[in-house]
Symmetry: C2
Subunit: 124 residues, 2 copies
């Protein structure tokens, strides 16, 4: 069986693979577009949290705000569900971003002489 | 000195704090808007990588593609620089996302009987 059908089957497989590769390339184009949008939105988000950090450091506002963070997580999980994104991943994502924000706020607090206390958390 | 000026200084500080709190609330509104956009773009990105995972599993395409990943990282770092986002963070972000994609692709490969090999990486 294999000797007669192998070449045809191989050809069909090659055509299918070619179509698959084209589809892959198409999907990757979308992924690249989305990544560019994500990077730009992240840049804008950090511009906002940078200002938040400076504001808090200048006005001795509490750097951490657990109620705000809890509300952000709850809201993002809800939005994720609506968008059919794993809510646990959305929460992980926010925590990942907050980790970077904390790093930035600490750096701002270190540069700010007006307050004596170090900046902790702050989801922004 | 402190007894005569303390109330006025306290009042000025209270006004400044009120303005700071208003500004904080304004910035948080922007952060919330950006987070909603980020979550929806991430949802769309996972829809793409989900299709990539299924395609690769069905067509026995190599799950990992180091050249593609290197190009993605290079491109994102460049985009981040243009947007004044820390390129190192952009790379960290992509790796964070890829980690989740790998988890998804593994799950897809586990469900796919057509290929015998497990799905590894794949930045999408």
């Amino acid at each position: 069986m294999s000797e007669g059908t192998a070449p045809a089957a191989g050809e069909a497989a090659a055509v299918a693979d070619e179509a698959a590769r084209e589809r892959l390339s198409y999907l990757r184009g979308s992924i690249d577009n989305l990544d560019a949008a994500l990077v730009h939105l992240l840049a804008e988000r950090f511009k906002c949290t940078q200002q938040v950090g400076e504001l808090k450091a200048r006005h001795s506002l509490p750097p951490a705000d657990p109620a705000r963070e809890a509300a952000q997580i709850e809201r993002l999980r809800r939005l994720a569900e609506d968008a059919r994104l794993d809510p646990a991943f959305a929460e992980k994502f926010l925590n990942f971003i907050i980790g970077e924000v904390v790093r930035h706020h600490r750096a701002i607090a270190d540069r700010t002489q007006e307050t004596g206390e170090p900046a902790e958390p702050a989801a922004g």
